[in-house]
Symmetry: C2
């Protein structure tokens, strides 16, 4: 039977599944566990991280690292750190004062499964844990590499990155943004972390500036394409594909509300072609899966 | 006029005031500012950090660094990072789902002055900014020093540190703890960050292990003494001294509820003497203010 157009190619699917399994194991070993009185915090952190998810960001880290022959065990620690950050951001975004989402990945969101205090603290703890993992010598023996990862991640998720983007997102619920501001919102909210994911392999592998820039450019275009297709999926009300209630962003400024479906679709296609183009500087064999990933992002909405 | 027993010695008072001013300037220069749409986030971060406070933690960083002749501009960046973390923890602790505190340092808490979403995000952003500041080469030219600071801070404020302590604190509202668990709660919630503050100077100054351990011990005893006197102040209902509504911790497990006022008082005195004792390994002239600080912590409750 031919794969449904929404599915990834068998090769990509297999690779993503393998990545998901190994990174889940790494994350589970890095997450705290205890019989002590604060156990609900640790349980909440595990619930937030290990309740499914495609692990797209870890996959980008692992594939970026593979280009430069980086040891997979090291790359997995960075992949885990990134997913801790992504999970924390989802937990805080779901809070009643933010998006007020009762479900996430088809399960109760953390503050519903536990309570709000645990959700706030689990998110806070996951952010700290991510930096703890990066700072550990097991991530890379060269402290310059580790501190570069820390600095880049901190800036990607701080007020000039993810948190600033989330603030814009909240403001966008009450106020209409133009396409320029929506682009900036997405670059901050999701683009900078995705750029970190793609760039991390180049940092771990001490790649030359041109190679590093190529991955940054790939991430930039792919991140934007990803957001445009997310907006399209949401506008088309495909809850199954999204893993969260559809049309949640109904009141929010999105690419679809700003430029219409047809233009948004054309924009996503152009961005994916651009993203793939940036990979030409590498040996083709090393970037097959990153190319497949880009086309997969696009296919999701066909 | 003789100073009131609650006041610090004139010399300590002057030094703390000078530290407060310079660190406030450093923090203000490190905090984001913008005319862009996400400005409320940046305003919230500034409100959280620059709305007063004694800056005890920055003072510990600066005085610890002075022992080893560390450049003050570098130490101030670490002091700022620590205060960003402390401020974030206060903002999140004040949230309705946590301590539900309407005021902080005599002003509306951040979620009252702005809203809950801004408070959650401002806290998240301050945590990221702290790591961003530590990772920057301006903090120290040696990446090994910077990554050591990052790793120690991340572990001090993560699930096995501050966030774990805050979780215990929430659980302690519904459940009675014994003195052992209360001690652990405080070591996690406030002790580990205070230990980082005192140890940071030794890391910046590449001090020998014995000197570093001495500061860690000083911090351990001082941190515990600080918490016991805080519990005493709260039990005695001194809102002015606390800068927050008194008896807020009425339902919580504290040293006073666990061991009674007299024993708590005696414990605090013993801890301060122990703390001062650890400083004997240093030239007396270099630790005068850290000794004064220890006695000041004790005097607060006389």
């Amino acid at each position: 039977m031919a794969p449904s157009p929404r599915e990834a190619s068998p090769k990509l699917q297999q690779a993503m599944e393998a990545c998901r399994e190994t990174v889940n194991k790494t994350m589970s070993s890095l997450l705290p566990g205890t019989e002590l009185a604060e156990a609900p915090l640790f349980d909440g952190m595990r619930y937030a991280v290990l309740s499914g998810g495609k692990r797209l960001r870890p996959f980008m880290v692992m594939e970026g690292a593979r280009i430069f022959g980086v040891d997979a065990a090291r790359a997995r620690r960075v992949a885990a750190a990134v997913e801790f950050i992504h999970s924390y951001s989802l937990v805080h975004d779901d809070l009643p004062a933010m998006d007020n989402a009762d479900t996430r990945r088809g399960k109760p969101s953390l503050h519903k499964a536990y309570d709000e205090a645990t959700a706030i603290l689990a998110g806070d703890g996951l952010q700290a844990l991510a930096f703890d993992v990066l700072a550990n010598p097991e991530t890379h023996e060269d402290p310059r590499v580790r501190i570069e990862l820390v600095g880049l991640l901190a800036s990607a998720i701080g007020p000039h990155g993810m948190v600033g983007g989330q603030m814009l997102d909240m403001i966008g619920e009450k106020q209409e943004f133009d396409v320029g501001t929506i682009s900036r919102l997405q670059r901050l909210k999701t683009g900078k972390l995705i750029a970190f994911c793609c760039e991390a392999g180049a940092i771990l592998g001490k790649a030359n500036p041109a190679h590093r820039q190529a991955l940054r450019n790939y991430a930039h275009d792919l991140g934007l394409a990803f957001q445009v297709t997310d907006d399209l999926l949401d506008a088309e009300g495909n809850a199954e594909e999204m893993g969260k209630p559809a049309n949640q962003d109904g009141k929010k400024a999105t690419f679809v509300t700003a430029m219409g479906r047809e233009q948004a679709r054309a924009r996503a296609e152009m961005l994916v072609e651009q993203a793939v183009g940036h990979l030409r500087v590498f040996d083709a064999g090393r970037t097959d899966l990153l190319k497949d990933l880009a086309y997969y992002v696009l296919k999701r909405r066909l």
